[in-house]
Symmetry: C2
Subunit: 146 residues, 2 copies
């Protein structure tokens, strides 16, 4: 595949870059997974300027990953919530965080843990094939150009 | 977490940005997963300049995701191969591609498919908890600050 194809977005890696290629976008999603919904909440947590935050939230709306709903009339105020497509990014973020924790060394403990909603045990994520349950690793899968 | 923490790399999301935050780095990894090993092979496939390619390969070596081995003495030539940490990125890339394919619309067919090494069937990746086999989704998991 050539660069020119990327401009036409045939490659999902290239499309994914619109989300993972931007640090603030990824961090806003992380905060949304942690339960943040208000503009001021995102701002406080991330220490981002209002201008940048507004811009990135608009981008996430345009991509269909977050949506705004009014929670107050005067003055008008909005909540920002994950759409189903945004929620579907959760497992991707989980794998990304797990991989970075294991493979990009840091002396500091990770600032978040991922636990099971059901019983609170810390989860150990692994990608498997839905049909067979086989772990999908470099050794068991193969990429093919179509 | 504040921006200042990110500079100290305590957040694995921030560390992951060194890989997923750069389009060429991600595309070089994709080519490596497709079997490319030679400098010229990466260049032909990606249409990247020699300068940028050399720089990104050095970065991938510095991160410990790829390593160089000589395959020829005169003139000296190298192969670029994935390290175990680089190979471990395979499942992350797979989830990223699967998510983008499902959630960021494109009119064009995806240029790569992922198949099982064992029998060649197209795989359907899902993240599960290793201990219980439960799919890890927005609904079943929870992020906690430590």
């Amino acid at each position: 595949m050539k660069w020119s194809d990327l401009d036409h977005d045939s490659c999902p890696v290239a499309r994914a870059m619109s989300v993972v290629g931007d640090r603030w976008t990824l961090l806003i999603l992380r905060e949304a997974f942690l339960g943040t919904r208000r503009f001021d909440g995102f701002q406080d947590r991330l220490g981002i300027t209002r201008h940048l935050l507004a811009e990135r939230l608009k981008k996430l709306e345009a991509l269909g990953l977050m949506h705004r709903t009014p929670y107050q009339e005067r003055p008008l105020r909005h909540d920002y919530r994950l759409t189903p497509a945004g929620r579907a990014f959760g497992p991707v973020m989980l794998m990304l965080v797990d991989w970075a924790t294991e493979n990009l060394p840091s002396d500091l403990p990770p600032p978040v843990r991922v636990v099971s909603q059901a019983d609170g045990h810390e989860v150990d994520p692994v990608v498997v094939d839905r049909a067979t349950g086989t772990p999908l690793t470099y050794e068991t899968m193969r990429l093919r150009r179509t």
